[in-house]
């Protein structure tokens, strides 16, 4: 819930720069490893949007995969989980480069 309050802070800041009557859609990017549950985000969005310009807006959650880079062959790849093994050369000498993000991508408004 406190995360959604921060999301609303960013939404309100953003729409105050434009002449927005109503927000129709908010798109979030949520990493597979972000520890955030999409269902609870949707629920909190519904509750907090009541009586605001976001009421009735659609919340789109784009899940981004766990992504790694191989330090041996330099290839980037996605993985379902840990350990991060490079599918190209099989190396375990890898680093995670994506999958923990939680960001507001865009707002569709009128």
């Amino acid at each position: 819930m406190s995360l959604m309050m921060q999301i609303f802070d960013i939404i309100n800041q953003t729409i105050s720069d434009y002449k927005v009557k109503k927000v129709k859609r908010v798109t979030l990017k949520v990493g597979k490893m972000s520890n955030v549950m999409p269902d609870s985000l949707s629920f909190c969005f519904e509750v907090l949007s009541e009586g605001t310009k976001c009421e009735g807006a659609e919340l789109v959650i784009q899940e981004t995969p766990l992504t790694g880079r191989c330090l041996d062959c330099q290839k980037e790849f996605t993985s379902e989980g840990f350990p991060l093994a490079c599918p190209n050369c099989g190396s375990r000498n890898t680093r995670m480069i994506g999958g923990t993000e939680l960001a507001i991508e865009s707002i569709e408004a009128e």
């Binding site: 406190s2 995360l3 921060q6 999301i7 802070d9 960013i10 953003t14 729409i15 434009y18 490893m33 972000s34 520890n35 989980g81 840990f82 350990p83 375990r92 995670m96 923990t100 993000e101 939680l102 960001a103 507001i104 991508e105 865009s106 707002i107 569709e108 408004a109 009128e110």
Partner: protein, 220 residues
């Protein structure tokens, strides 16, 4: 109209964390953020190692808790500067809470700032406080599946302290498998095995912290 926002939800926290980080760097104070489930033994670990730390460096502690000051009183009994932050139900510390209490310390007299986060394996992992690194305290009593269930926490940490190893004979946890699961997520993580109750393994942990303090003092 389509408004491109591209703003991370944690961006404002990270700005304040960077400010805290500069503050620690100016005073060459090493800051460590301690995470772990309720009951994993975070405060007990601090109590058990603070005597050893005090012989070599000047530690101070920030205690995060939902609503009591019990942990701070326990630490204060060991004669180190300590400040309690009550999150009033909030499940994690954030950078702003740390920024607010830092002026209450004389950082020029602090070599090591230990920040004990609220007992929780989820949210604290996502909130940078401006620390140099995170440490997870994980106890044998919690079972072996914590790394698989909360990978983010183990990804973000530089070290894991496996506590309550004296309970191994009474539990189904296989220590080698647990360590392998942790290293599968984070191959570079440092692992300590301790029993605070029996005072085992604590010197390795304390010596490592002291070496990290010295490293920072030489590099800043």
């Amino acid at each position: 109209m389509e408004i491109k926002v591209m703003k991370g939800v944690y961006d404002s926290n990270e700005k304040i964390a960077a400010h805290n980080r500069r503050n620690f760097a100016e005073h060459r104070t090493l800051a460590v953020n301690i995470l772990g489930s309720p009951g994993s033994g975070k405060t007990t670990l601090l109590e058990a190692s603070i005597g050893m730390l005090k012989e070599k460096i000047r530690p101070a502690v920030i205690e995060g808790d939902l609503s009591t000051d019990r942990d701070a009183s326990r630490i204060a009994a060991h004669g180190v500067p300590v400040i309690q932050i009550n999150t009033n139900g909030g499940c994690h510390l954030d950078a702003q809470m740390i920024a607010k209490v830092l002026p209450d310390f004389d950082l020029s007299q602090v070599d090591l700032m230990i920040i004990e986060n609220v007992g929780n394996l989820v949210c604290p992992a996502a909130f940078d406080l401006g620390e140099d690194f995170k440490v997870v305290v994980l106890s044998i009593a919690e079972g072996a599946d914590k790394p698989a269930k909360y990978p983010r926490t183990f990804l973000e940490a530089s070290a894991v302290v496996i506590n309550k190893i004296d309970l191994l004979p009474f539990s189904d946890v296989n220590l080698e498998e647990l360590k392998r699961d942790i290293r599968n997520i984070n191959p570079d993580i440092k692992i300590f095995e301790v029993s605070c109750r029996l005072r085992q393994g604590l010197d390795n942990w304390a010596e490592w912290l002291v070496s990290k303090v010295r490293e920072k003092q030489e590099n800043e």
